[in-house]
Amino acid sequence: MSTRTVEYAVGRTPEMGVDGQPAYGPMAPIDLPEPELGSENMLINIGPQHPATHGVLRLVCELDGETVVKVIPHIGYLHSGFEKLGEYRGWNQVVPLTDRMDYLAPLIYNCAYVMSVEKLMGIEVTERCKVVRVILMELDRIFGHLLWLGTTAIDVGAFTPFLYAFQEREKIYTLHESLTGARITTSATRVGGMMADLPEGWAEACREFVNELPRTLDEVDYLLTTNAIHLGRTQDIGVISAEDAINCGFTGPNLRASGVPYDVRKDRPYYDYETYDFDVPVGEHGDCYDRYLCRMEEMRQSMRIIHQALDRLPDGPIDIDDPNVVLPSKTDCMNDMESMIHHFKLITEGIEAPVGESWFSVEGSKGELGMYVVSDGGSKPVRWRVRPPSFVNLSVIPRLAEGHLVSDLIMINASLDIVLGEIDR
């Protein structure tokens, strides 16, 4: 496995700058004897409606002064019963439910779901479809990481990266819109193919975006990576060891920041990921700063993959040639009796999956995203389960935040990169 350790060009003392000169930031510790203020702890409720919780998350905290003694997360405020609803919908009708879970990287969810159904049905999608899905998934990895970058920077007091990140996200929104007609709720995939092929000029627009993005990332790098305030707020905050991270079920950049080079794209490659040349960034301290570095590097690696995928984008059909699975074109439907019958049956009865079950996981932007579908041979799933990476990552926050300040709790929460739509489902 080609892995790489993120190397630091910065010292790990917040009061010292990159060049060894003292950085007179406000983070220098003040050495005063602690005053005696009594020992009564406070019960503080954060959220559910609070911008710093990145969604409708509620944290009940016990505080000793400003130090967190205990955190109890409460979730479920956004619970929509998607998994239950999926049991009443046809295999293709579930797709729109998936992008409402992680609305920050919807295409990864669209793709992961149909990939699990295709595995269950034994469908091998076309070469072009594979490459297109790889491009879309990597694009949405950048999409998700950019939002994380902007909002996390705000949490530590840096407003500018937020504007830079959202300016770039806007361009991905435009790419989404020209491909699917929607900016957030994309619903771009179908079992056996895509909703539509790439529109004319889309690949060029995507290439242009990927060419321009590094400039913005460099600017954000310049603003944050060696910034004394940012270092002081993130280094050695929310540390988790590799062993603990595995035991707690961490996946994605959070796990890799602790030094475990586990990436589904490398360990269980799907869609020919083994033929793409990219590195998996791995941290070593497992703190908020390493998670930041890992995500920054992952965006650059995603750009590498998109470049390679655009280079090899093959011609040919994007849907498989199976009238029992893929809808015929509207023209065929109106001119050809057989196509019309297939269309009618697909719309009224839906496609049918064989008896059985399948588990398929992809590397999502938040971590390992698993889709588990169970079929009884009908046109609806018996059970559709999403292995939510944010849900598992968030469950560790009581362990990470203990003993830190309340302001660090906010930073730890931000550094986990959660999305409540997926946690609550």
Partner: protein, 276 residues
């Protein structure tokens, strides 16, 4: 009435042409060997049940529910297997009175191997050992299965609802016998939500946070708990205020208790309110 029928059809989704096969677990007998399954059979004998292959390369092994903890402990700690990653823990309800399956999805980084372990629990005995001592991942995942399916995990340190509210009294939503729109009417659901007090949003443990332990001890030793703000229904850790507004009497017609996990020695919160 006609509208209702039409609405139901939309809600139920596409209907399958044929009946689902009776035995959903029947799969081809030709299953390639899986090293971990062979080792489990040698070590645990009859506690290890059927071995199946799904979707080409997914090995599923059924384990007797009494032995699940030992089996998973063996799989996690034996260096030959070393499944250090519990990727997922969930449950499947096939409906029609079939047993509920609890599913453990394991992944071994060291050996690049995955295995799905399943336990079948009859509807009148939804209890299984918690694997939280082995994987801390299981903490929230087991709470979710408990919340949505009503499976009780013995030995879990903090088993309470996680996605549904603490005072949710309609049962376990992902069961097949749970209607899509819930058991209570919208009016009743709203009434219950409005009947909540601020304290109802905190668990008992949280209410004790930050208080002087000595003071808490004195209070619990001392006078009658007449002014205690809440009584706690053990079911789902739900709580109903005794001095709160009375709940809709019609709600108690619905047999919620039947849907709850067997082994819950809980009193139904609705019934409890009416006793007052």
């Amino acid at each position: 009435m006609a509208d209702e029928t039409l609405f139901d059809a939309v809600e139920q989704g596409p209907q399958t042409r044929h009946e689902a096969p009776e035995d959903l677990t029947s799969v081809p007998a030709e299953v390639p060997a899986h090293p971990s399954v062979a080792a489990l059979r040698a070590k645990f004998g009859d506690a290890v049940g059927a071995h199946q292959l799904h979707a080409g390369d997914e090995h599923v092994v059924f384990v007797d529910s009494d032995h699940i903890f030992e089996v998973l402990e063996y799989l996690q700690q034996e260096p030959d297997h070393h499944y250090e990653f519990l990727l997922d823990l969930t449950a499947v309800d096939y409906g029609g009175g079939k047993p509920i399956q609890v599913v453990y999805q394991l992944w071994s980084m060291a050996h690049h191997r995955s295995l799905r372990v399943k336990v079948e629990l009859p509807l009148d005995g939804l209890t299984v050992a918690s694997v939280e001592p082995l994987w801390r991942t299981a903490d929230w995942l087991e709470r979710e299965v408990y919340d949505l399916f009503g499976v009780t995990f013995e030995g879990h340190p903090d088993l309470r609802r996680i996605l549904m509210p603490d005072n949710y009294a309609e049962g376990h939503p992902l069961r097949k016998d749970f209607p899509l729109r819930g058991r209570f009417s919208r009016a009743e659901q709203t009434r219950r939500a409005l009947g909540l007090h601020v304290e109802d949003n905190y668990t008992d443990m949280e209410m004790e946070l930050g208080r002087d332990p000595q003071l808490v001890a004195e209070e619990s030793d001392g006078s009658l708990p007449g002014d205690a703000p809440t009584t706690v229904g053990p079911m789902d850790g739900s709580r109903v205020r005794t001095d709160g507004p009375p709940m809709d009497a019609a709600a108690s017609d619905i047999d919620v208790a039947a849907d709850d996990a067997a082994g819950d020695d809980a009193t139904d919160p609705v019934a409890e309110t009416e006793k007052e």
